[in-house]
């Protein structure tokens, strides 16, 4: 323990862990899903599982936007990126996501002009600086990230930057949760709700999970204490027979979300009738497309994107892991044919993917031992 603060947190963490243990019925098995990839990363990084009784299992949900992107959308992006007039911009996380014919990093090595950007506003600046090139931004992310694309498109329209467009792959958080709740494979006891997404959408969108499905939800922050506190709040609900949406992260997440961000999303985007999710298949109204008012900035229209469908590699079991049916290390190719250096499936690419998180934090041996015993 390097700092007093950490030590105090460790004591507090143990105290919360003891309360959780006290509420746990040893004859039961509890399955709690953390929806958000940031939570998955933090859970592995901080060894949260080690603080919980063995009866509580954390299932890793579909909340990593890189991981749920189907191969066809990667291939579509690559097709745009290969056009000679295009400067293709994307977040760094996208570069190694496998498409059916390689990834963006390899396409860049073959000569395509692909540039990593920190922000969609950096992509817009590149468009301003290169008026004779077509600058395309590959937009990914849940409702946390979609407002930044929306505000960037507003700015592009105000400035009439005609050589800028967005290949929109934004997805929404509620439909995949509903799909998981409808899945017969999976029995869950409760959910740790996403933190940053909820700063935008608020807590109200999760109420259907309590009302229609009888599953408690606790929206949580990203620090280790936030996560075990959220587990404690869920366990209290289960023991007391309550079923509510609670907000552990109220210091950041307003119950109603961010009305400015929501208004901006409504102006710039509309819901797609359906969208394919890696491992989960097609889910109705689960993604955003650019609205008619901004159609001039829609790369799908500008480049007549084919919308190819590509099946995931046969050996890849990302779908089962995403649904929480398999643990990362139970996948046939985990750590062998599929590693962070050479990922087969998207869950190994992003540091927020369950497989990469598991691989990076060295729990493989211990986990395999547990499974084997």
């Amino acid at each position: 323990m390097k700092y007093v603060q950490e030590f105090r947190n460790a004591e507090l963490a143990s105290a919360i862990a003891a309360k959780i243990a006290g509420l746990t019925d040893p004859s039961r098995h509890y399955k709690i899903m953390e929806v958000c990839g940031g939570h998955t990363h933090a859970i592995y990084r901080h060894g949260i599982k080690d603080l919980l009784p063995p009866e509580i299992e954390l299932i890793h949900g579909p909340g990593c936007p890189v991981c749920v992107l189907p191969m066809g959308r990667v291939d579509d992006g690559i097709t745009i990126a290969e056009r000679p007039e295009v400067i293709f911009t994307c977040f760094g996380d996208m570069m190694r996501v496998p498409g059916s014919k390689g990834n963006l990093l390899e396409v860049k090595a073959r000569g395509a002009d692909i540039r990593m950007v920190y922000s969609p506003l950096d992509a817009l600046r590149i468009a301003r600086e290169n008026p004779h090139r077509e600058v395309v931004f590959y937009a990914i992310g849940f409702e946390t990230t979609a407002p930044s694309t929306a505000l960037t498109l507003r700015r592009a329209k105000q400035e009439r930057i005609s050589n800028f467009s967005v290949f929109c792959n934004h997805v929404t958080i509620v439909p995949p949760i509903r799909a998981l709740l409808d899945s017969p494979d999976l029995r869950l006891d409760g959910f740790i709700g996403p933190g940053h997404v909820s700063t935008v959408v608020g807590c109200r969108p999760y109420e259907f999970m309590t009302k229609d499905y009888g599953k408690p939800v606790v929206v949580a922050g990203f620090e280790p204490l936030d996560l075990i506190q959220a587990v404690l709040m869920l366990m209290r609900q289960l023991v007391e027979g309550r079923c509510e949406v609670e907000n552990q992260y109220s210091r950041i997440v307003p119950w109603e979300g961010n009305p400015q961000a929501l208004a901006c999303l409504a102006e710039v985007f509309e819901l797609r009738p359906y969208f394919e999710w890696r491992g989960l298949g097609f889910i109705a109204q689960s993604a955003l497309k650019i609205s008619p008012a901004y159609a001039d900035y829609d790369a799908e229209q500008r480049f007549a994107v084919a919308g190819v469908r590509v099946a995931d590699p046969k050996a890849c079991q990302c779908g089962e892991v995403l649904k929480g049916v398999l643990k990362p290390w139970e996948c046939k190719v985990f750590g062998i044919a599929c590693t962070p250096e050479h990922p087969l499936g998207a869950l190994m690419v992003s540091s927020e993917g369950a497989c990469a998180a598991y691989f990076n934090f060295g729990r493989t041996v211990q986990a395999k031992a547990t499974v084997g015993s």
Binding site: G37, L121, H196
Partner: protein, 92 residues
């Protein structure tokens, strides 16, 4: 890109374009403050905000900002990568 990093507003660059300069992880970069600086709420120089892909996502108090920074430093590689990408950012 999934991280949100605390930064402190150090300068208003252009209120019409909703741009401000923030100090984040030791560097100063221009960010968009449209989501936290509007009819509903405002930010001022000295305020802390959580920044995600160049946009202030929400206002936070200093204690929360410091505690988030500590948690990010513990996360390590993903945070360092985010800072490297931020270094290259030149939002106008």
């Amino acid at each position: 890109m999934c991280l949100a990093i605390p930064g402190r507003i150090v300068e208003m660059v252009d209120e019409n374009l909703q741009l401000a300069k923030a100090e984040i992880g030791g560097v100063r970069r221009t960010i968009n403050i449209g989501l936290v600086h509007n009819e509903v709420e405002q930010v001022a120089i000295g305020d802390w905000v959580l920044i995600h892909v160049g946009f202030a996502l929400s206002k936070v108090d200093e204690a929360e900002a410091q505690s988030t920074l500590r948690a990010l430093e513990e996360i390590g590689a993903a945070y360092r990568q985010e800072l490297l990408e931020l270094h290259e950012s030149r939002i106008e």
